[in-house]
């Protein structure tokens, strides 16, 4: 088991290297100039060139890449061109916001998906199952920014229960401010989660050990919760793990809509302003995060299902 974890952690190196290399060359090959963006259209070419030199952007792409690799390997992520702050400092402020948002989003996705799947499985071809299917179709058809804006409009402005975006001072206020964004993030993966959980539950309820449960005379609730739901959680966890990449990507839009100072909104700003070091740092973080979540998913999977012990 330990050997397996170590091997998987070592695999993290080539994966992350690949991701940051691709993003480095993609970003630098995209037209646009951070120095021109910073100094504005009216600045002279001389001023722009001076700033490019100061930022090391006048060096060859290969030299800049090697420079980046050397710094990243020693833990130096550099200074943001746009924000003018050390990137480690920016990440220290912003990473917790995004992690909390993703965590809350995941918890909410589970809290919404499991009851819906149970309801759908229990009623099979009844009204409840149709309602769940309809809910799924509608939610899946709505883009994230639309769901976010609607939540702000109805729960932020009309009822004033939640703030209309922003990230206030104090942990309880912040947690409250994260509820609507977390619901938005969660709704992005709920349809897929419900469908796979439901399929898994239907399949399990047809299996022999469930039939045995019925034969023993167990009640319906006990069969559903103890036999069906528990066993379908294996499928649920693997789907949830795969969706973490989508969840991370979703924070880009959600943080923008809800004005949250997290990694997603920082990455968005960095891409639009060609803030190369920040784009690299954010990509690095997201890549590590996704790979680690995949690893944890596989481990949890192994714990839940003794048949798939890693060797």
């Amino acid at each position: 088991m330990t050997a397996y974890v170590v091997r998987r952690l070592l695999l993290l190196v080539p994966v992350v290297l690949g991701v940051v290399t691709i993003s480095f060359f993609l970003m630098h090959m995209t037209p646009g100039d951070p120095a021109r963006d910073f100094l504005g259209d009216r600045a002279s070419q001389q001023s722009v060139d001076a700033l490019r030199h100061k930022w090391g952007l006048d060096q060859s792409l290969g030299a800049q890449y090697l420079h980046f690799l050397r710094d990243a390997a020693t833990g130096h992520l550099g200074t943001s061109l746009y924000f003018g702050s050390p990137i480690t400092h920016l990440l220290g402020v912003r990473l917790p916001v995004t992690l909390l948002l993703m965590l809350l989003g995941t918890v909410l996705a589970v809290l919404i998906s499991v009851p819906l799947s149970v309801l759908s499985t229990a009623s099979r071809r009844g009204y409840a199952a149709t309602a769940v299917r309809a809910f799924n179709a509608v939610v899946q058809g709505m883009p994230t920014f639309f769901i976010g804006s609607m939540l702000i409009l109805f729960l932020g402005l009309r009822t004033r229960v939640f703030p209309a975006g922003g990230y206030p001072e104090g942990f309880p206020h912040r947690l409250w401010a994260l509820v609507l964004p977390a619901v938005t993030v969660a709704l992005g993966i709920v349809p897929l989660l419900v469908r796979s959980l439901n399929a898994s539950m239907v399949e399990i309820s047809r299996s022999e050990f469930v039939a045995f449960g019925w034969a023993k005379g167990l009640d319906r609730a006990r069969i559903l919760l103890h036999y069906v739901v528990r066993n379908s959680s294996i499928a649920g966890i693997s789907i949830l793990g795969i969706q973490v990449g989508a969840l991370a990507g979703g924070t880009l839009v959600v943080e923008q809509v809800f004005a949250l100072p997290g990694m997603g909104s920082m990455l968005m700003t960095a891409i639009l302003n060609r803030d190369y070091p920040v784009v690299q740092a954010c990509t690095l973080c997201f890549a590590v995060l996704v790979v680690l979540v995949y690893l944890v998913t596989d481990l949890v999977y192994a714990v839940l299902d003794p048949r798939v012990r890693p060797s």
């Binding site: 037209p31 951070p34 021109r36 100094l39 504005g40 001023s47 209309a164 004005a259 100072p261 639009l272």
Partner: protein, 514 residues
């Protein structure tokens, strides 16, 4: 006990309000300014830097202007300048130097007095080649400080726009040697003589400014603090003002204005110097042919654009100069919208049967995309097939500077109240933008602009500026589309919030009802 105290306080407040209504009769609160309170301004972009000679983005400039003062400031109508840190200014008889007398008793936010040495240091930072205002300050030859209250600026040639140049944000006054800090340190902890000073700055999230206790205008500012928050999404900004979470929405979308001008929020439209342009790359065929450019200009319906894109806000442009500046000339007539005339003009051109071309637009810019679609439909009637090319803003800027596009959009606002900046930037090849990225060149116009700057008589200068604008309309490297107002949505509790035509809003007079 606690509840009772709150109730008692509420009752007192209610009584006070009723008394105020009965006595003063100004329940709307537009009368006497009230001191105190925090003004929350939600804006789309992050402040990049607070170093006066660093950045060039509005989010930085407008924040800076609350922290620093300049020697002179634009008048509220944007047509001239008035005293600020300098109380008087005079041009010498040979027109080569200007003498400024500084206001007495002005202190920086750290309590140190302002002297001429601070002014000299500040203006010299803007003369360095990598400074954002170097293109403005390059005319300054030397700065002398005969005594603590006097600054003498010598220019390389007679230079009428100098007072306006000194009212620009890049010429904000900072303490000599940045108060013993490096430029980078000063950027994080700036010191100025303005009404507010920096309290906290969480990058990408918010900036909080608090009242400067050493401010030279006694009793001002009224506000205790100003908080700028970054809210990128226009819908969220609008909702925050409606829910009371923010007091001012810096850039409401035109489409949301009627909804925002209701209940406890209002919309303010202020005169601005913004002019929007449709540009053509004259380096590329067939735009090197004036008949092609003129035909396109005759096919653009400005009024339809204002109605659709601007939701009726704005005025059809005549020359490239905004009415906010004194060089605007109402008698200038641009090529009129006339599809038959456009077809006839195109028939005389190198491509009488039309051609295929691209129009570059910024991604996510709903206004630009709407304008592009209207123009695309209109040009189709001339036989010109237009493909829309969508690039993100940074790539659009790159394409324009490199001349790597066929047709596109741009807009300009002025930083100074003198027309010199825009005359050169938008009308000349050597003015900093290659005639708004069209690469159109007319050496005669450069000579005319140089001549105008040496004249002290405003009427004589205006005549030359009209001549330059007429010449540009005649050559049609671009089409001036419309003059747009600056628009803000804000809470009805906010009073005396009034941006200048130069775009900056001095919050020294602003107050909130509470």
């Amino acid at each position: 006990m606690k509840t009772r105290t709150v109730l008692a306080a509420a009752a007192t407040a209610l009584m006070l309000t009723l008394t105020a209504c009965g006595g003063g009769g100004s329940s709307s609160g537009s009368g006497e300014p009230q001191a105190g309170g925090d003004l929350v301004i939600a804006r789309a972009d992050e402040t990049q830097s607070l170093l006066p000679t660093g950045p060039f983005d509005n989010a930085s400039i407008w924040t800076m202007e609350e922290i620093y003062d300049t020697l002179l400031v634009p008048t509220s109508d944007g047509k001239g300048v008035e005293a600020s840190l300098a109380t008087s200014w005079k041009q010498s008889a040979d027109k080569l130097s200007w003498t400024f007398k500084l206001r007495k008793g002005v202190e920086f936010s750290n309590g140190k007095p302002l002297t001429s040495a601070d002014v000299k240091f500040s203006l010299e930072q803007g003369m360095k080649p990598d400074a954002n205002v170097s293109f403005i300050n390059q005319v300054i030859k030397s700065i002398a400080t005969p005594d603590d209250d006097t600054v003498v600026i010598t220019t390389k040639q007679p230079w009428a726009p100098l007072p306006a140049d000194l009212a620009m944000f890049g010429n904000s006054i900072v303490p000599k040697d940045y108060g013993g800090k490096t430029a980078a340190e000063f950027d994080k902890k700036p010191i100025g003589t303005g009404p507010f000073m920096l309290s906290s700055w969480v990058k990408g999230e918010s900036i909080k400014l608090v009242k400067n206790p050493h401010y030279w205008q006694s009793g001002k500012p009224y506000l205790d603090s100003v908080t700028f928050t970054v809210v990128a999404d226009a819908n969220t900004r609008a909702t925050q003002v409606q829910s009371g979470q923010a007091d001012v929405d810096e850039f409401p979308a035109y489409s949301s204005l009627s909804a925002l001008d209701a209940g406890n929020t209002k919309v303010g439209t202020f005169e601005s110097s913004r002019v929007d342009y449709f540009i053509m790359n004259t380096k590329r065929k067939p735009f090197d042919d004036r008949n092609v450019r003129l035909a396109i200009a005759q096919a653009i319906d400005r009024d339809a654009l204002i109605k659709t894109v601007q939701f009726g806000h704005g005025e059809a442009a005549k020359g490239y100069m905004s009415p906010a500046l004194w060089a605007y000339d109402d008698s200038i007539e641009p090529p009129a919208y006339d599809l038959d005339a456009a077809k006839a003009t195109l028939a005389k051109s190198s491509v009488p049967n039309g051609f295929t071309t691209t129009l570059t637009v910024g991604s996510g810019d709903a206004d630009e995309i709407a304008a592009a679609q209207l123009i695309q439909a209109s040009l189709k009637k001339l036989g010109i097939t237009v493909k829309l090319q969508t690039l993100d803003p940074s790539a659009v800027s790159d394409a324009k500077h490199a001349g790597n596009y066929d047709m596109g959009f741009t807009y300009q606002t002025t930083d100074i109240v003198d027309p010199d900046e825009i005359i050169r930037f938008a009308g000349l090849d050597n003015g900093g933008s290659n005639t708004l990225y069209t690469f159109y060149k007319d050496a005669e116009l450069e000579k005319l602009a140089d001549k105008a700057d040496t004249l002290s008589d405003q009427a004589a200068r205006k005549k030359i500026y009209s001549q330059i604008q007429e010449a540009i309309n005649e050559a049609t490297p671009y089409v001036a589309l419309y003059y747009s107002p600056s628009v803000y949505a804000y809470s009805a509790k906010v009073h005396d919030f009034h941006p200048y035509p130069t775009g900056n809003y001095n919050l020294v007079d602003t107050w909130v009802e509470h």
